[in-house]
Every structure is written in C-alpha cells, then in structure tokens.
Assembly symmetry: C2
Homo-oligomer: 230 residues x 2
C-alpha cells in the first residue's frame, strides 16, 4: 500500500482536489447511468424487462446519492464538483445514443464494464475510505448478467444482429477512450492521481499505458461473453 493512501492523505489539498474530481466524475457518471437505464427501460420489449431496468436505474441513483453525500462531507459542492465532467460525459452519451433496446443493453454492459475496470484499478491509489466508496459504487448490480442473457437470446433468435452489435461495441470503446483521454488531459489533479507525482506514487506513465491495454483486453472478453466479435 503506498504511503499516500493513508487516512490522512485527504488533508493534503492536492490529494483532496483529486478526490473531489474523482468523486465528481463518478457522481455525474452515475447520474448519467441512471438516465440512460431509465431510457433503456422505455425501450424494453416487455413490462418485466422494463421493471428490471427501472430497478437498476434506481440503484445507480442510490450510488449517485452516496457520492454526493461524500462530496458534501468533504466540504465540496456536489454540483460544482460534477460540472467539469458534464460536457465530456454528455458528449459521449450524445455520440452513442442507442437506436434500440439491444444497443442500449450492449452500451450499458460494455460502457459500465470499462468504467468499472478503470476506477477499480485507480482505487488502489486512494485512501481507504475513498477506496471503499469507489469499490462500492462500481459493484455490478446484476446488470451484466441481465444484458448477457438478453443479448445472447436475441443473437440466437436472429444471427444477423451480431454483426451490427459488434460494430456498435467497437464504436463504444473508441468513444469511451477518446472522452477519457480528454478528461485526463483537462483535469491535472485527476491525471496526477493516476500517473503519480514526486510526492505520491501512482501507476506511472508506463503503468497507465498497461492499464489501457488491460481495459481493451477485458473489453474483448466482455464482447465475447455477449457472443460478439470485439
């Protein structure tokens, strides 16, 4: 465990700024996930599916509330902390608006998976309290199993959807990494948290590169579990 990841790290203003950024991007991400899952519920083919998606949306909203509360505890204004991430995340969602129920399921599974991989690895460089919160809000809420089940069934029923959804998955990962790089380039504190600084060990530039490779690998594994070519 790096020294910086002590309970008192939060007293260091640079570290605190990075944590506020991190919780801000996570909170806005959860609020967006809530909206996206609710929109997916509206596309659901049956009331049972609609109801399942709505329940998942509500669970994401509970995460959003946990993150907002923690931001307030740290003396930050949650809305202000989220603001810098609004445009990049909205832009990601605008450029990847699902055209149907299956695209929505693939997007939630693949997109959340990339987020989970990234933030779970980042959690290793955080103080214990922040780390526990990040791991809690990144926990899978049953959405993966649901998406895998519905997408595989759709491909079994009509093999032609597989080609279209495979292309869709590639677009999603491309857009996600583009926006993630944009955020890292603009938010120095967040970038320093990931890469590290003289005072605080991070994963280093090489480590960050290796992390992106692992994210792509895990993305390919998720596409395969959907029955899709990555």
């Amino acid at each position: 465990m790096p020294d910086a990841a002590s309970t008192h790290a939060i007293d260091d203003p640079d570290y605190r700024a990075a944590v506020v950024d991190l919780l801000g991007v996570l909170a806005y991400g959860e609020l967006s996930a809530f909206e996206r899952l609710a929109a997916d519920a509206a596309l659901a083919p049956t009331i049972a599916d609609k109801s399942a998606l709505a329940g998942m949306a509500v669970a994401e909203h509970a995460h959003f509330e946990r993150l907002s509360e923690r931001l307030a505890e740290l003396g930050a204004d949650p809305n202000a902390a989220m603001e810098p991430f609004r445009e990049p995340l909205d832009s990601f969602h605008r450029s990847t608006a699902p055209s149907d129920w299956l695209e929505g399921l693939v997007k939630a599974y693949v997109g959340d998976g990339i987020g989970q991989d990234f933030y779970t690895e980042m959690a290793a460089y955080l103080d214990p309290e922040t780390r526990a919160l990040v791991l809690e809000v990144m926990a899978d809420l049953g959405h993966s199993a649901f998406a895998v089940d519905r997408v595989r069934a759709a491909i079994e029923a009509d093999g032609r959807v597989a080609g279209r959804l495979a292309l869709w998955g590639r677009r999603l990962v491309g857009e996600a990494l583009t926006q993630a790089q944009r955020v890292a380039a603009e938010r120095d504190a967040l970038d320093a948290l990931l890469v590290g600084s003289p005072d605080r060990p991070g994963m280093g530039l090489g480590g960050a590169g290796a992390l992106f490779s692992r994210i792509i690998e895990q993305h390919s594994r998720r596409m395969a579990s959907l029955g899709l070519a990555a």
Copy 2:
C-alpha cells in the same frame, strides 16, 4: 361511506378484479412517470435541476414498487395487471413527447394533476386499505412547486414561450381524456367501480360527467398557476 367500501369488499371477486385493474393502471402510470421524469432530467439545463428531477423520478419508482407489492399481496401478477394499460399509456406518451425541458415540466405538472384529481375522487369508492394506498401514491412529491417555479421564470424571461406552452397544455388535456375514455370503455370492472353497479354504489353516470367537468376546471386552475391561458 358506501357499504361496499368495507375491508371485506376485497373478498368479492368483481370488486377484487376492479381493484387489480385500478392498481395495475396506477402501477404502470408510476413506471411511465418514472421514465418520463428521468427523460426530463436528461433535458435539464443545470446539474441542480437534473438532480432534482432524478430524485422525483426515484420517488415515483418507490410508488411503483408499493403498488406492485400490493398487487402481489392480492395474489395478482403485477406485470399481468399492468399489461392492459400498457398500450393506452404508451400511446399517450408517444403522442405527447415533450420537445424540450419546459414542455416536459408542463406535461408532468398538468398530466399528473389530472391523474391526481381523477384517482383521488375515485378513492372515495374504495375499501379503506386500497384508498389509503391510492392517496399515498397520488401525493404530490414537490414536483408541482418545482414545475410552477421553473415555468413562470421561463415566461418572465421570454414571454413568447407562453403561447406555445398554452397550446401544449390544451393538447395534453385532450390526449389524456381521450386515453382515459378508451381505458374506461375497455375495462368493464374499472368502469363499474367508477359509475357503480346494482350491488355497489358509485358516482353514477351523472356523477362521472360532473367529475370530468371538475377535472377540466382544476386543469384550468393549474394552467393559470403556470401563468398560461387554459
């Protein structure tokens, strides 16, 4: 209090069928309200507004869960109970999809208001337990004050929006009453609950007509509170 509204009324199969219909339409209405408020959150101009709308959507979802639980307690399958109302409600929402944030706010305020007026009056003909649940899920969750505040501010900032929103309000009430009549015509049990039957006092055909007049009056009052001509 009519005799039929006793705690044992639920043992009468006709009355029970009407209650299952009523809870079914309310549950699907809450699930739709959840989706609609979440979609409105996506159109919100600020993160603070987005967060407020998302919170209201989650509260509607809690109502949906209460209604589903009660349906299950009555031995009904909640999804099956909702199914007959899916098409009419989806059709209402399709034909009244808001094109922007203000139209969404007016729709939620005006549409929910009509629903509240209708079901609150209907509650008088229900057994005490069902009545309490209907009144609970029909309670205003702070959405009215929020919508009135935001719409009035928008009209103050630019008077031209008032004409467009007034037309929008008229379209909403027309579509809502059309769909309500369609539901009443197709669901005999629900219709009998409202109008009454030889065994069970209702408001009578004349009473139902008077109810519709009151709904239109209250609608006009709500439009006025938004600063709009009805």
